[in-house]
């Protein structure tokens, strides 16, 4: 009977694990919904600001330090990892594509890491990490990403870097998150550029005749940096939605595995219990048969 006791203990502990992973799955699902609606919430600003930039460009203004295309010598990569684990393989996937990118780059490359898990990975690679941001709030705010984008903008404008890319897990769907590296600065239309993701087709009015106050250059200078900040904010929101989606799926798998394990354990518990009953029955009937003789 000691055997059945052991199995009963395991059934109980696997059952507890299942409850925990189930709860974690539900929390991650709620967080994922919140951050994917935050991504959608940040969209209108990006769309309107980009179409404003485009209409100003159509009126002949196109010089701004953030648009300057230079021969690339120094580049910066901002990689958005997560703070917490139990998010499936998204950090490992992103780390793989970031290391690949680093090893293929022929330029002087500096890296900014966001998320504790990223810091862990980068210690292993030879990347030159210039800054690390951790303690990401679960409800991401513009205040969190602003220093990241501000530093990127300033160092690009000061020509410390000629190219700024972001690496993050693109939220394709709940089940798929794709590690993606795209260009942020120079902030130009480019196949790999982040602005090609923003669809402004719904907002195509071009105000060619509009009066501009105080003047076109001042306006342009004030829109463009804000748009860059917005795009980086949106990227991180998306990275966060990916984190929660991956966490939800990982916890769902864990719950399913616990379920399978439980049913296996239950089966072997039942068969051991049954065989001990059968053995007892056999003994009893044997002894009855012996007494009858």
């Amino acid at each position: 009977m000691s055997n059945t006791l052991g199995i009963r203990r395991r059934i109980r502990s696997v059952g507890n694990v299942k409850q925990i992973t189930k709860a974690m799955e539900l929390t991650a699902a709620a967080k994922m919904h919140r951050s994917s609606s935050a991504v959608l919430g940040a969209r209108p600003y990006a769309i309107r600001a980009l179409s404003l930039v485009r209409s100003l460009e159509k009126r002949g203004i196109s010089n701004h330090p953030l648009l300057e295309v230079r021969p690339i010598k120094n580049e910066l990569l901002i990689a958005f990892f997560t703070d917490r684990g139990m998010v499936g393989s998204i950090n490992a996937q992103l780390a793989r594509s970031v290391s690949q990118y680093i090893s293929q780059s022929k330029n002087n490359l500096d890296v900014v890491i966001v998320g504790k898990k990223g810091a862990k990975f980068v210690n292993k690679s030879k990347a030159n990490v210039i800054a690390t941001y951790t303690d990401i709030p679960s409800k991401l705010t513009f205040e969190y990403t602003r220093p990241i984008s501000l530093n990127a903008r300033m160092s690009f404008e000061n020509k410390e870097y000629d190219l700024v890319n972001v690496a993050y897990n693109h939220f394709a769907s709940t089940l798929t998150q794709k590690p993606t590296i795209t260009q942020v600065l120079p902030f130009t239309d480019h196949p790999d550029s982040i602005i090609t993701n923003i669809d402004t087709s719904a907002d195509e009015k071009v105000l060619l005749e509009a009066i501009i106050e105080p003047d076109i250059q001042t306006l342009f200078n004030s829109v463009l940096p804000r748009l860059v900040d917005q795009v980086i904010f949106e990227t991180m929101l998306e990275a966060q939605a990916s984190e929660y989606a991956a966490s939800m799926v990982a916890m769902r798998n864990a719950t399913d595995n616990a379920e399978d394990l439980l049913s296996d354990l239950q089966l072997s518990y039942n068969s051991i219990r049954q065989s001990s009953i059968t053995a007892e029955m056999a003994e009893i009937s044997a002894s009855i048969a012996a007494m009858e003789d």
Binding site: A210, E213, L219
Partner: protein, 146 residues
């Protein structure tokens, strides 16, 4: 023929409504927008946006940004924006006091400009609430107190 007014901040669409008149705090001072206004693109300063619709007024606190005006539409892209009714006066006053402490303790230009920004923003919020106190019986807790 009313104007479609939309107020968009960096994290959400704050409000979208029909208006008869829109008052905007632009770089060149307060301007009033009526239907069929000439097309205009302008920067917005920290201040107050007033919307007049069917004889009623609603007020928003805004902190920097731009406005795009056409004959039928006014779109404001604000760094921050909130409806006057959602400003918590006590919280704004507390944030203002905290910012003044920050200003005194500021060690570099970055901290100084942060503190000044917070003071400007919260003075604007306090100002707007006090000016429209009679319409502000139900303060909701604001999401972005700084």
């Amino acid at each position: 023929m009313p104007i479609t007014f939309s107020l968009i901040s960096q994290d959400k669409v704050v409000d979208e409504l029909e208006a008869d008149e829109v008052l905007l705090p632009t770089a060149n001072g307060q301007i009033g927008i009526l239907p069929n206004h000439v097309d205009l693109i302008t920067t917005i300063q920290t201040g107050e946006i007033t919307i007049k619709s069917h004889g009623k007024e609603s007020h928003y606190a805004v902190f920097g940004g731009f406005a795009e005006v056409t004959g039928k539409e006014v779109t404001v892209l604000a760094d921050r924006a909130e409806h006057a009714d959602s400003i918590d006066l006590a919280a704004a006053e507390q944030a203002h006091r905290n910012a003044e402490v920050m200003l005194k303790d500021a060690k570099d230009d970055q901290e100084l400009s942060n503190a000044l920004g917070l003071i400007e923003r919260n003075l604007n919020r306090i100002d707007i609430v006090k000016r429209h106190r009679h319409t502000n019986h139900h303060p909701k807790s604001p999401e972005n107190i700084q």
